[in-house]
Symmetry: C2
Subunit: 197 residues, 2 copies
Amino acid sequence: MTASPTPPTSRSRRSAGDRRAQLVQIGLELLPTTPIQELTIDAVARRAGISRSLLFHYFATKREYYTAVTRAAADLMWAHLQPRPGTPADEQVAGMLDRYVGWVETYRESHLAFVRGAGGGDPWVADVYAETRQRLVEVALSTLGLPDDALRRQLVLAWFAFAEDLVGSWADEPTLSRPELLALLREILDRLVRSGH
Amino acid sequence: MTASPTPPTSRSRRSAGDRRAQLVQIGLELLPTTPIQELTIDAVARRAGISRSLLFHYFATKREYYTAVTRAAADLMWAHLQPRPGTPADEQVAGMLDRYVGWVETYRESHLAFVRGAGGGDPWVADVYAETRQRLVEVALSTLGLPDDALRRQLVLAWFAFAEDLVGSWADEPTLSRPELLALLREILDRLVRSGH
DNA sequence: TAGCTTGTTGAGCGTTGCTCAGCAAGCCGG
DNA sequence: CCGGCTTGCTGAGCAACGCTCAACAAGCTA
């Protein structure tokens, strides 16, 4: 039919890589303001200036799109937290902790939306963050020079839940000085990870 | 169409209270098997042997229904955890901790679905569990005879995140004996709640 | 120019949350 | 038995969303 005879669609035609990157970028921008489950494909497409159909051309399913966005967010954090080689192990852990708190301070809303989005709702999306946490635990343990057994792994993962929650509420209401917070987190982590309970 | 488990007559007509209770009950049964966001009103209605419309007669919105279900779940746990009066304060806390671990052991799937469902997705639903945690923190602190300041509150809340995560993974893979787990949780809680950081 | 590749679109289908006008089950006073 | 009232309950239907499909069009090459 085409009752609307080709509106002035001098819309740009992008390369596949560009388009994908643009869509993921839009997801990263929208993630903090919108709970991941409420974010509609339509909104993303409109924001990108394209039709819904095109988004499905790049991401077969909504889930696939969201996992891509989540993975991008996880990679950003991962890159930021990487330990700086060449310094003493103790300092490396302290640095990671420091950068982690800094990360949450800076991207407070988006980080929590990310963590919570990962925790609830979709298991596929949750896996992406679980995987990132696993990697963090591995790095933490190996940096500390401690064996990576099942118990320690559980404890450090639980410590992450502790740290996420505490840093989140601390960012809202700083009841501790920043160094005190860091020291407390470090102390609990040490307590958990050193043997003998 | 009314192939419902209740075949008293062609169509059973229930009192408003009965129907509400039945619907909430169905929600409690479905919560463990189905992520709260994926649970459709249609499924609940079909399971109750009623039309979708009727559910919207009792709960104006899907969110309202889910918060009612979540609140019911929270109340169950709350009742189970209540400290037994008349015993020493120390024992009361130990008892609560013990019952909490027992609760997660028993209702593992539904509890985690509940907590995660509360954590992610819908903020309204999240509030219900946040409220329950607040009440638990109050009881814990007052039982321990400790002041209820902002810092302690944050720390105990974060400890809950720690405990939920740890008990959850521990139930999957018991790397510690049960008494060891309880002692560890208790020790960390004590460490956090006693002053001086 | 034709022809090929590929980024892009609109029309449309099934499901789901939600609305609304109205039916029907039970109970009353005549 | 009959009207009339209350109220639990339903089916048709709308809007939004995820997702599909056939086809168009922009850019390249021969």
